[in-house]
Symmetry: C2
Subunit: 193 residues, 2 copies
């Protein structure tokens, strides 16, 4: 066995949490998936919560990778921010674990699920804010308060990806970009003179 114990357990846990959510996965189940005894898990992780946090950290890493990759591409600020956010939320939407956690928060009020989602949300907001600040420094964006702007853009995307799709056909990546461009970026005001 070349992979070490910790990684093996972590992968098993990632799968289990992804399939069944936080409450839905038992430590015994993770142990079975990882082909280790239950006690072994407790030699690597203090308790179930810490195991879960380790898994979440991996996911935050994935998100970071996505953000870094997109933000280093050579595009105009606007498109960058859009692409970064869109891909992040797409990943978030597709990732079974995050879906399960969101459902868990609505059904039981699992504390772990709540703070996990908050952590992910805060991470996205922070990354977004940095991207915007970058645009401001380059003189490409006119922004009074980067935190407010990051919040605005984030909520707008969430609204379209989550709420809009509850009653209307989903917007494509390009349509989302149009909305973003027309509203946030250029504004709906008709310019006189």
């Amino acid at each position: 066995m070349i992979t070490n114990k910790r990684v093996t357990i972590l992968n098993a846990a990632k799968n289990a949490f992804s399939l069944f959510g936080y409450k839905g996965t038992t430590v015994a189940h993770v142990a079975k998936l990882a082909h280790v005894g239950k006690g072994t898990i407790y030699t690597e992780f203090k308790n179930k919560e810490q195991l879960f946090e380790a898994v979440m950290d991996e996911i935050l890493n994935d998100l970071d990778t996505i953000f870094q990759r997109v933000l280093h591409q050579n595009e105009r600020s606007l498109l960058k921010v859009h692409r970064a956010l869109y891909e992040t939320l797409q990943y978030r939407k597709e990732h079974q674990l995050l879906i399960h956690l969101t459902e868990e928060v609505n059904i039981h009020g699992t504390q772990e699920a709540v703070s996990a989602i908050q952590k992910v949300e805060q991470f996205i907001l922070d990354s977004l804010e940095r991207a915007i600040a970058q645009g401001v420094e380059q003189g490409r964006l006119h922004v009074v308060n980067t935190e407010i702007t990051a919040f605005t853009i984030y909520k707008l995307y969430i609204a379209f990806i989550v709420d809009w799709e509850e009653k209307k056909p989903p917007l494509s990546k390009e349509e989302m970009f149009q909305v973003f461009e027309n509203h946030i970026f250029y504004g709906i005001a008709v310019r006189s003179s």
Copy 2:
């Protein structure tokens, strides 16, 4: 007694629902508040659900009044839309019943509460869309799709009035307007030439 039976019951119900939400108010309680027998309620309303819907209709009426009043003032489109939405959401936020209903939806998944809130939300979206269409006709706004723009603006306000306040000090009416103006109306793009 000059007020008729139906109105008396409706007022009592409005108070009761406002104080305790849908699940929290019992028909017996409404009867006592209205100083009528429980059976009397069932001569005017088919069941608890219909009584509740009658109360909700009154509230939608209030909202309509607010919208009409603001929209007939002589101001530029932007300010109108802002003011209409802000006052509507302010009313919504202050009205005990709507607060209780929102909480109810989060705790139990009361069907009545869900559809009531959806109804209110749809009403606001429709009114907003009409206000925007008006601005477009007058050549004051450049909008591709009034439904999408209404949705965008509405969600933005909700985000600031509900989510933002969970972690940051609330924005004043003027600050809200600034955000609205900077992002949706003028856009954050820096204009060259």
